[in-house]
């Protein structure tokens, strides 16, 4: 009983320092993914509670922040799965005609470096804005894909997506991003 109490006290002290050191970073990531203050706060609280309960699973192979981030990403995937049940219909009609040829081929051939700004400046300036114009659901998939170095099959399983739909969402998003950036010129 005494040993158990000592372990508990030690764990509590450790978590006090983790809460102090990592809350802001976790909150920033949670807000970035969910775009809601209250959801981000709830999520960060959940992450620490889960970490506290599952501390035995933390083997110290990665840093505490990496472990906490992984829990956070898993929780966001859970939320995604619950919020967006069912497949979404992805249409490519805006980009390809009925014969599967590119629509507006001329715009596709415009070189980005033929403008006053450099390609880097163009992307830095417009990409973030164009990302914000994507449907929330697609944007969350993109962020989770880039932020986690997971295999596609794992990502799809976490988010409850079929592989076909996952690829279609990435393809459709990228087509839209390219067009959005070019429209900004």
């Amino acid at each position: 009983m005494i040993i158990h109490l000592k372990y508990y006290q030690k764990l509590k002290h450790l978590f006090e320092s983790w809460v102090e050191d990592y809350s802001q970073k976790l909150y920033n990531r949670a807000f970035y993914l969910l775009n809601s203050t209250s959801d981000a706060e709830d999520l960060v609280q959940d992450v620490f509670v889960i970490a506290f309960e599952k501390f035995a699973q933390f083997q110290g192979k990665s840093s505490p922040l990496t472990w906490l981030m992984a829990i956070l990403h898993n929780k966001v995937s859970d939320r995604y799965r619950l919020k967006y049940k069912g497949e979404t219909k992805i249409s490519l009609d805006l980009f390809f005609d009925e014969n599967r040829f590119w629509k507006n081929p001329e715009s596709l051939l415009i070189e980005w470096n033929s403008f006053e700004k450099s390609e880097e400046e163009i992307l830095d300036e417009y990409l973030e804005h164009c990302l914000d114009l994507l449907p929330e659901r697609w944007l969350l998939i993109i962020k989770l894909t880039y932020l986690q170095e997971k295999k596609t099959s794992e990502l799809c399983q976490d988010m409850g997506l079929t592989k076909t739909n996952f690829w279609k969402i990435l393809q459709r998003s990228r087509l839209q991003l390219r067009e959005c950036i070019e429209k900004k010129f």
């Binding site: 809350s23 620490f48 051939l109």
Partner: protein, 95 residues
Amino acid sequence: MKKVFYRFVHFFILSCPEATINVEKELLGDLGPIQRLRLKCHIMACKLCRSYLGKTLKIHHTMKDMFINRKQPINRHVVDIDGLKKGILNKIEKR
């Protein structure tokens, strides 16, 4: 004549929508060797998809930099971080 050429390309190699989806798979390292070969052949034959690939690569690298290296934009708003910390510790206390 051009359309006939592209029909030939679509039939024997890949259509442009198929090529663009395979570009995504290639970027995430999920494309098999045969599909990769078909994609390469398509890209060699189709200047539109070649141009698309070039732009997609630039977008991909910028996104990688944005999401992974720069992580995320710095806080756009202020949060009561001390209140949040207290809330977390209260929750842990109750466990």
